[in-house]
């Protein structure tokens, strides 16, 4: 209970500070915390990445296994994205089946990957109508200090870019690497008072009444948007956030995904 009450009390402090042009950790309104991406750290996974944004840490693992295609897409592989908010990562996370927050996290990341058509699902067909590769993206937050979604989305695409197809394990032949055609990057922004801030930490996320995640691609197109929170955003605010989101995504892509561009 203490943690929630403190979050409630700190709202006023965070709000007043932001109104005076400052952030709790001294960043500019449009700055991310320090980001790090470590790839291929789980050798049991076909692809993996540990992404840290400040003290937030998310581990993403990709597994592939053969399965039966959906009847309406007999020549396409299957993509499944799942997130588990394990209680070790935050006192706010509870044991139990996926709740609305973990489902939302997984679905927003999934939408970015799917909407950008980053994975060529047709290349994941092994035998039309019979056997295709099922690709599982599992999002495993380790430490939640705010903005899990950007870390998870970056971890997902960083993992996919390094994913090997485990042909040998299933005695199959074919391409050994996953072909990735785009690099969707999520950028989350909040509104506090009349101010727009990127990459909210936990205190800021608690103090914000609305939040917008914009997922954009290498060519500047958008392939996923999620507005959450309890307050409305105006059209011009959204326009500003979308533009900012695309700009920040470009910076992150260049710095953390550029050297492994497919």
């Amino acid at each position: 209970m203490g943690i929630e009450v403190m979050a409630d009390i700190r709202k006023d402090y965070v709000y007043d500070l932001i109104e005076s042009g400052k952030r709790v950790d001294g960043r500019g309104f449009r700055d991310y915390r320090e980001i790090s991406v470590e790839r291929d750290i789980i050798n049991k996974a076909e692809g993996s990445a540990l992404v840290k944004i400040g003290d937030t840490a998310v581990l993403v693992g990709v597994k592939l296994e053969p399965g039966t295609p959906f009847s309406d897409a007999p020549n396409k592989g299957i993509l499944m994205t799942n997130a588990e908010l394990r209680p070790g990562a935050s006192p706010d996370f509870e044991l139990g089946p996926p709740n609305e927050n973990s489902v939302e996290l997984a679905r927003v990341v999934d939408r970015g990957i799917r909407g950008s058509e980053a994975i060529d699902l047709e290349k994941l067909c092994i035998e039309e109508g019979e056997k295709v590769w099922m690709t599982f993206i599992d999002i495993h937050p380790l430490d939640n200090d705010g903005n899990l979604v950007d870390a998870a989305a970056l971890g997902a695409i960083a993992s996919l870019l390094n994913t090997r197809i485990p042909n040998d394990r299933y005695e199959l032949t074919g391409e050994d690497t996953l072909s990735i055609r785009d690099t969707p990057v999520a950028v989350t922004m909040i509104k506090i008072g009349e101010n727009i801030l990127v990459d909210p930490n936990l205190y800021e996320a608690n103090a914000a009444t609305s939040k917008l995640t914009v997922i954009s691609n290498a060519d500047g197109t958008i392939s996923g948007i999620q507005k959450s929170g309890t307050d409305g955003l105006k059209e011009e605010e959204i326009a500003e956030m979308v533009e900012l989101g695309i700009e920040k995504a470009g910076e992150i892509r260049k710095k953390y995904l550029g050297d492994i561009e497919a």
Binding site: M1, V5, I9, R10, Y13
Partner: protein, 187 residues
């Protein structure tokens, strides 16, 4: 504090009960005194042996501690509160049962006639522990009292206006025992 050994960890043997009296951060098992925490060993003039922790230990309450609590129930002479956190240890839950009380006689320096004019339901209150066993708290003192409150009618936040609190939405005015830290978001 006589001497400092290096760092010890739980289970490290420190001495026997013939040599020392066990203090904090140690335990006595059949005459053997061992560390129960990670830290440095200190021995007082009176041969009390202690481990001064190098880790943050679970917050527990003692007399004089300043806490933040939430008003859960208001009766005629007493406010029932749940204690949320200990000042200086805001990132960690209190390692104990947290139900406490503020008696009408400990609300402020002076006579209080009506507790309803001092606190409201779900107010967040800064208070001082005056009795650990019964978890009795006091709000006597300028920095103590209500630090955050919501409007009884519309549940919006109340803003401080002089000695009263005004609702940002419905303009309702309420009275409270207000702390000088009201609305600052800090303890």
């Amino acid at each position: 504090m006589e001497k400092e050994k290096g760092i010890v960890v739980p289970g490290d043997f420190l001495g026997t009960s013939e040599e020392f009296t066990p203090g904090e951060g140690v335990y006595d098992e059949k005459g053997n005194i061992c560390a129960s925490l990670i830290g440095g060993v200190s021995i007082s003039d009176k041969r009390v042996i202690e481990v001064q922790p190098k880790v943050e230990t679970p917050p527990t309450l003692k007399e004089g501690d300043v806490v933040v609590c939430r008003i859960e129930d208001l009766r005629d002479t007493v406010a029932i509160v749940s204690i949320a956190c200990l000042k200086g240890h805001e990132e960690r839950e209190i390692a104990a049962s947290t139900q406490g009380v503020i008696h009408i006689s400990n609300v402020r320096n002076g006579y209080v006639n009506d507790l309803q004019r001092e606190f409201g339901y779900l107010d967040l209150v800064k208070a001082k522990v005056i009795d650990v066993a019964a978890l009795r708290l006091s709000t006597e003192g300028k920095d103590l009292g209500v630090i955050k409150a919501i409007c009884a009618k519309c549940k919006s936040n109340l803003k401080r206006k002089g000695n009263t609190l005004a609702c940002e939405s419905c303009k309702r005015v309420e009275v409270r025992n207000i702390s000088e830290d009201y609305g600052k978001g800090l303890l």
